[in-house]
Symmetry: C2
Subunit: 367 residues, 2 copies
Amino acid sequence: MTLDAGSEYHPYLQQLGGHSVARTYQTSVSCGAGITQPLLKECYRIGVQTHNRSKFEGFLLGEKGNVVGVKMRENYHFGEDQPGKVLNIRAKRGVIMATGGFAQNIDLRMAQDPTLTSEVGCTNIPGATGEGMLEMFRLGAVPVHLAHIQSGPWASPDEGGFGYVSNYSIYNFPHSIAVNCLTGKRFMNEIADRKTRADAELACRDAKGEPLPPILITSYKDSKQHPNTAKVIKYNVGWKFDTLETLAKHFDVPLKALEAQIKEYNGYVKTGDDKQFGKNMSKAKDKYLEAPFTVVRLWPKVHYCQGGVQVTTKAEVKDSLTGMPILGLYAAGEVCGGIHGVSRLGSCSIPECMVMGMTAARSIMNA
Amino acid sequence: MTLDAGSEYHPYLQQLGGHSVARTYQTSVSCGAGITQPLLKECYRIGVQTHNRSKFEGFLLGEKGNVVGVKMRENYHFGEDQPGKVLNIRAKRGVIMATGGFAQNIDLRMAQDPTLTSEVGCTNIPGATGEGMLEMFRLGAVPVHLAHIQSGPWASPDEGGFGYVSNYSIYNFPHSIAVNCLTGKRFMNEIADRKTRADAELACRDAKGEPLPPILITSYKDSKQHPNTAKVIKYNVGWKFDTLETLAKHFDVPLKALEAQIKEYNGYVKTGDDKQFGKNMSKAKDKYLEAPFTVVRLWPKVHYCQGGVQVTTKAEVKDSLTGMPILGLYAAGEVCGGIHGVSRLGSCSIPECMVMGMTAARSIMNA
């Protein structure tokens, strides 16, 4: 379906966070817009109407508590005090909520996980504040897994949002080392699941307990294949070093310890057996760490909320007291909870959105 | 306050689940009723009215959405179809919800943690089904940590509820070994936090993946001090064996492996250093495992819901959209979320109930 609509994909498989093998094709623009934009164009072609600059303000309910529409504020610009008119939009068959997660709602995410302070950035749009989900809870939807929030361990504190570094480091993690600047040593399996790595990065602190972002060290020869490498260097969110000495001096890392770490790691590249953290070294084969190096800094950004409302396999939103669907209410995507468990694997939100979006559409047409 | 009301405590400190040292005095009846019953008597003495056999059916709301009372069904017997009249009870100052957790609501707990099927028992009363919490979510309370549900790793599959074994094993864990019947080997630190142990027990399965409850092996000489030891043997939920051979035969455990395990463990008793699971051996000092043995079977029971509604430090229930208190609504005890984090430490619900119960009462008197 996405190919029919015009999506394009990189011609190679990638091994994303938490996966045991390389099994993911990524869009050639390396983000979800490579799927949503072609689908949106296709929607316009077949006559679907959309409303941009509009804010969901609540549900319209029928006499039996069923959902018969939504309140929508027109002409809305996020965070600005210039509210448009609120329209009541009636739904012929039902409402599908696809309002995403709440990663930008700092109060709500800190209620679930106190480590996710404003000190931790976020890859989501500013409007990912979860009011759609919260309104569904007021209707009686079942809250599931809100406490399971995933931070992306591939993000950089040196740029906003997803930026250029995220895809750079996702590509390079398999043949790179992540190093704690205080010790000069590795501190994690660089391709462990996202939560394990984000927690490990957040634990990298200076003597006063302040954040000390760790660094990802890659051989320049192995990093330069990725299209973002030139960009991270150009925009000063990544740096190239000709020698280990200049690298260590730049980040104030103990040189001797770092030298020993790289020597040790190159031994694992040779044997294919990472005795420090059990990393799968198959994608690091023959990729010894050697100068010149490319380096980026890492600090997690809140990326995905595993939690949300409970849905049936038909994408119906369940009522917490009756266990039955709330009539007229459907949901798909990140706003749903319980699909991915404690930590979503990289790339698995795409099939969830596609499959459950289509399922919700089919359910609503049969309602 | 509890001493003034007449509570009595065992004269020795106990080291409960997840604690690093022995720091808990337990009531002499070894359960919370040793606190609640004396407090209830004291309430009657000062003229407090209570309503037993009554079911909470929802809130009465004022014009501004503030809570001004509750609907209460009289003459209610749990699970029976003989509903009494529903009364509207007006609250002069506000309502304090102390409705406990939802450990008996199998649908809701499985939505949060699919391993907590009906196969896993529960220590709570049958009415711990969470409707009070769910009604608060409908008013806009913030759901926090619902996915963090604790199972008691000290429970027995051979009796209902908390039973006799739970306190027996809590007392004996420090100087006992828990053994997987399939391997004859230990599989956990017997005094790790509750969640770690419950997860380890649930992983004990036979070749077909069916539950194979592990066994807790204690020297009879060290178990007999606990008042429940005679009871677990009398009621056939624990057994005494004169030799390791009869024990191994009874539970179909490989004898050689079990012999080797006990020899190894007794080495740790001697050195004070558990090289298998890092258990703190200080309470096992000089307590070598020797025949005759007392044995109980272990299988987790859902015990405590860390999750619930978010409250302020004044025990006010917060609104998910405004972040302000929902006027007239207070909560204390297990129905609150976010107090204990991922896994509550043994005994820590008592101070939470006492402190936040008093806090809620003070807030309501100042409202």
